[in-house]
Symmetry: C2
Subunit: 154 residues, 2 copies
Amino acid sequence: MTFNPETDLSIERQMAAAPDTVWRCWTDPDLFKQWFVPKPVEVSAVEHDFRAGGISRVVMTLPGGKVMDTTGCFLEVETAAKLVWTDALGPGYRPNGSGFMTVTIEFLPKDGGTLYRATVLHADAKGKAQHEGMGFHDGWGTTLRQLDDLSAAL
Amino acid sequence: MTFNPETDLSIERQMAAAPDTVWRCWTDPDLFKQWFVPKPVEVSAVEHDFRAGGISRVVMTLPGGKVMDTTGCFLEVETAAKLVWTDALGPGYRPNGSGFMTVTIEFLPKDGGTLYRATVLHADAKGKAQHEGMGFHDGWGTTLRQLDDLSAAL
């Protein structure tokens, strides 16, 4: 994974909980639904198969009822340490026909807690600009605060 | 990897050489150039980094000079056993913005030689039809015969 500031985005947050607890908030679907999207958007369904080639599907329901169903595929899974997935491929690595981003999440042990780092690669600068226009920093920033709060309370 | 006959293609050939020799024809660039495309097309450059996330780039030169430069990314690499790559992602898993296929090659030990199996997943039935229209069976069939001949002579 090579970060390119012209095409890519990243965000990180120091969290109070240790990596294995933050990891639990990712891998337990009931916990995952509590933090992954900024309220009042809701995660109405989640289907995660945590292995390379496994499905990564999240269904979001917006206020008013609009549904966003995104299916991708995990590329790398290291328990309590790293996740990589993309929406360019579906389960079993089948091409989706389009692809917006590849996301790497690192769960780095730091100061008794977790330095949580998300790196998002896009195909080009246009993809980065589009993601920024969708409110990347506010949206992901909010979800990381929700994750920090939830994992600290477990 | 789940094969779907409506969207996917596969081809296999029993080869005389053992898997480690067929693997050598894949991983040694000088050998790879000798079999990977049907003559008179030529492989004018190859760049392979055999690890998950590593580059898979092949440049072909057609009679008359037209150049086809395809860059993808390996997803799984098992020495002398299995290769998976896709053109939906570039090196480091960066989305290419489009994606036509994901290819799995299996090097299966059989009868002292290798049962070589290629499975090609497409996004949909249109992708499969397009690939068949490009001459998948003749083209890949020819390259597999070239690979069989080359590996048997080593």
